[in-house]
Symmetry: D2
Subunit: 339 residues, 4 copies
């Protein structure tokens, strides 16, 4: 940490700061420039980061030198983390799995119809919402356990592992029982209690980036999960909120190479939620793969205009097929393959 | 809802849309312009809002006409909602209470020291964190029930009602037992399960605006609480995320008159979290009162540089006194008074 | 400047950096921590700020210690700058002048009608657009010199000094001839050629904050004007772009105390453009004054629905009168008065 | 345009609106729902868009139905616009040209060194700044005409057409004389006088998206140029401003397919300015091509750490070569080729 003193600071201010810091077992390093005096603080990172330096008298600013995350940091683990899901899928390796399915599971029949279409296209993983976070209390909130059962039955029939969101610590055991991968939604990226809970299970977790989360906050939320013992975390970019209104959110693809540089965790992309409209999804799916995405998450419905949620951004199976035809050569161009 | 057809839509597209909509018991109203055909959809708002119009073939766009919120809407309840807290405080009336206290309760002694200083200044309500949402898993997470007890003891001694955050549905009963007002933090504004739970208790709820929440989303989250039966909701503006880095967030004071126009609920302002630095708090507290705030929420600590969280934005009791001296005449200038 | 080396940097990287920097006449100060080596760069600020430190091999990051602006910096001039306009107005002192008028001058008659109404209300300064920056090439672009003449005639008749925007360096002489205060619009805040030109005249300049400009960039644009010789710069907050759509922009009132802390220049507020709707203007005008604004800029039209631009945010003279009645007591509450 | 009346509007309000609108030669279409009355306005788009509907008494909101841009609109010209530059380059076709060069031309020797390296790599177009928009008045502002001459000499020697920015209408003739393509920088995207001027020349114009410009505003700025007669406009996405600080801006690649859907103009991408750091450029260059970019604009310098501007984001020729090796297969995967 670099602490910058105000030009008008007193020697007493400086002594108070240094003595406080040294009492905590940290060391200081003083440097007096023409206009500012600077105090470097050296020692245990976690200790340093908790000190409210700018509330000390005479302090102007404080600049952290080290990133606040450790376990997710590539500095501490150089090789890519690869995560096995079911028998056939590995995330973070050469193959790029497609994770597809409806926004919400709406009933057994329509789920089966969708899942069969996906299976016929060779899609290796099923996504579907059982508990749905909806902006309106009057909207369809999901079928709950019933939806989990329907998806689990699809898995039995097709072998597709199941990804589904857990919204509430009280539902964790239930979701754990049925799902292969737990998803933490964008609105829960900083639901620290929930992060702590999924940090204590042994199944992979897809952590979606908060709609307005910085990369640092995103990695700190992943750090929560790892620090509680679960190192199977998959980071998912799903669009950030900007001033633009033509798309639902703005897909931040530069997050992909950036996260892969800062962290060893796999990074996947969900263009459906980012765009909120189907027409731009194929181009952005190609771009995501070219940027280095380790998987694509896509909303698919057999009759989007009848969907109980997010129909506007759901591809039909035919549109998914066309997308796959465009994406596969891009994957090969970057030395990978679509699974 | 106004649905705009694409210029190249077919009569078949139009028939499919109209027939789908009419099957749901809604009426349609057609208008053919030179360049676009427009379909007005008339009927039950909640029904209309769930239809994914843009996923119908031939549809270009859909514009909602009515706001999606009802119970919180001033259109449905004209007079201001006033909320009683304890024996002496009423929120939403002429008096503007100050809610002050430490970010986190750090121990009995330091809390008592802070609370006594606040009480001596005549502050009518105490805030303090028992369960703290912290970006880092390595940061102080709060004392939990112990903190609730300490605050409850302060109330017994001073009569100050207590505001504290609930982060987890599993803690609700515990927090309910000790607190006078439940707070939903900015990161939980769209934790719909938690909103549903606090919607079922009979104590007032301070709902903080999400850091990147639109006004519409903010009101929809309040609607969750009201729709589950609790109409004692207090809206709190606490800064939104922008590109600016000189302040922690950007305090959006225009939210105050806007929310009061759209809704009948009281609106309060937390300049501490918005600014993240103490030097700008007094000016912005004055501005908040001038804009129409119904209460101010302020972080206060006796020794900010020793605070275990948010020390950089905590006022000392002396600074709070100076702030009160500046704010009181502003309150009077807008026909109100500081409590 | 604090330069942080990558953990894997070589001694050769360090030598290259130090030698490059010392060749420029700057000094360095080395500090080796457990995880990072840090190089402090000491010397002439302007020189330091031009070095692309992060493009040196082995460099991870660079943190500037000093603000990049000098002439506008309160560190270099402690007392508030006060600016005289005409015979009766002083900006930056105790009195808060109201600057009012139509968005665009639309003709002699309607301007006279507006100006007479303003004059009758005691408004001390007239604003009006002669050259209008319009998003659409098909919108009314202003009357040009004719508008300047009409406003100048109003001044002759009423004594109200005239504020008007200059958009093009080629128009500067013309605008200079007629106007008392030159305005640089939000879209031209970083039109550096134009800033350079208005830096060379001797009339006051209102510099509007760019819609997405940081405070630092805003002050750097003011620095352009001062560095070319004109120190009569008035900073104007007029709303920043965020994700919110209920208002045209988001009025950032915390910019007022922040700018006044960082700089000695006067700071004024334009709520009309920030909000884009009239209903919230009175509350936000009060808040602006409470936050410390040195003047208010307001759009006024006798018949807003006939305005050729920005009618939706134009107050009628009657609404302005009501606003003044609300704002005056707030001004007094903060030790000032409305002019 | 769809105008929504307030629930409390009077018949008099409605008559005033309808009569005002019909006097302008427009037609209206009334629809009374249960909660709102709606007035459709039919007729000449430009006329309608200038009416400040929300300033009429009794009006709640107004929703435009048609896009405000015409000449740039794909609705009015279905086929892609292709733009010839020099003898060998066509923008908007199958080939994707690379436009590379230094941020600023710093001198004849270093430019020649860079240009020769680019020419050796087969790069078909040279970019370089003669007039530089710099945030600080103390930064290097470009060599002006000298820079233009040096670049023109490079063209004579290598055949590479030259792209350079024009910042000031007074420089237009000079820049026109030397350059093959004129560039309008991000800070001038809404410098409407400059847009009007470049709309009157016959050379292609690269229009950079403003840092906080919506897609609609971006297209309206292009409309300015086309409406003044120049239809050779190339749209350039170069990053938007968000809350993220790890990158200089956030590259919005979804703008590429979106712009190509809404408009017939070619769309290019500048990852250098968006990212502000070199390490992420290759991945994002691949992503840009996969998203449909018609060209890439890249900053290249032989010794980035000696660059007088933007060194931190400048690739070396060797890094450019490596990037080309990665991008070429991606181009082929989407049916194109790198030029």
């Amino acid at each position: 940490m670099i602490v910058v003193m105000k030009p008008e600071h007193t020697e007493q201010d400086l002594r108070q700061l240094v003595s406080h810091v040294e009492k905590l077992g940290l060391r200081t390093h003083l440097s007096r420039g023409e206009r500012r005096t600077i105090v470097g603080i050296i020692g245990e990172r976690d200790l340093i980061q908790e000190i409210p330096f700018t509330s000390f008298p005479g302090v102007e600013a404080a600049h952290p030198i080290l990133q606040p995350y450790k376990l997710v940091n590539r500095e501490f683990k150089e090789e890519d983390t690869k995560i096995r899901i079911g028998e056939h899928v590995e995330l973070g390796g050469r193959a790029i799995p497609i994770i597809a399915g409806p926004c919400a599971v709406e009933g057994r029949e329509v789920l089966d119809e969708i899942a069969d279409a996906l299976h016929a296209l060779g899609i290796p993983m099923l996504r579907g919402g059982a508990f749905k976070p909806r902006t309106s209390p009057y909207s369809f909130q999901g079928l709950g356990e019933l939806a989990l059962k329907y998806m689990s039955d699809v898995r039995s029939r097709t072998g597709m592992p199941v990804v589904t969101e857990v919204m509430d610590p009280r539902d964790l055991l239930l979701v754990y029982k049925y799902a292969d991968v737990l998803q933490i939604g964008t609105r829960n990226m900083q639901n620290f209690k929930l992060l702590t809970e999924v940090g204590q299970v042994d199944k992979p977790v897809i952590l979606k980036r908060g709609m307005a989360a910085t990369i640092k906050e995103f990695l700190m939320s992943a750090e929560y999960i790892l620090s509680h013992g679960n190192d199977k975390v998959i980071l998912c970019e799903r669009g950030i909120r900007t001033f633009e209104t033509e798309t639902r959110n703005t897909l931040d693809l530069s997050a992909v190479p950036l996260l892969k540089k800062l962290s060893h965790l796999p990074v996947i992309v969900d263009p459906s939620h980012a765009l909120g409209r189907t027409d731009l999804i194929p181009a952005m799916a190609c771009a995501a793969v070219a940027a280095g995405a380790d998987a694509l998450m896509l909303e698919v419905h057999v009759r989007p205009h009848e969907a109980l949620s997010d129909g506007s951004q759901s591809l039909t199976p035919a549109a998914l097929q066309a997308l796959l035809d465009r994406v596969e050569p891009v994957a090969q161009a970057v030395g990978r393959t679509i699974l």
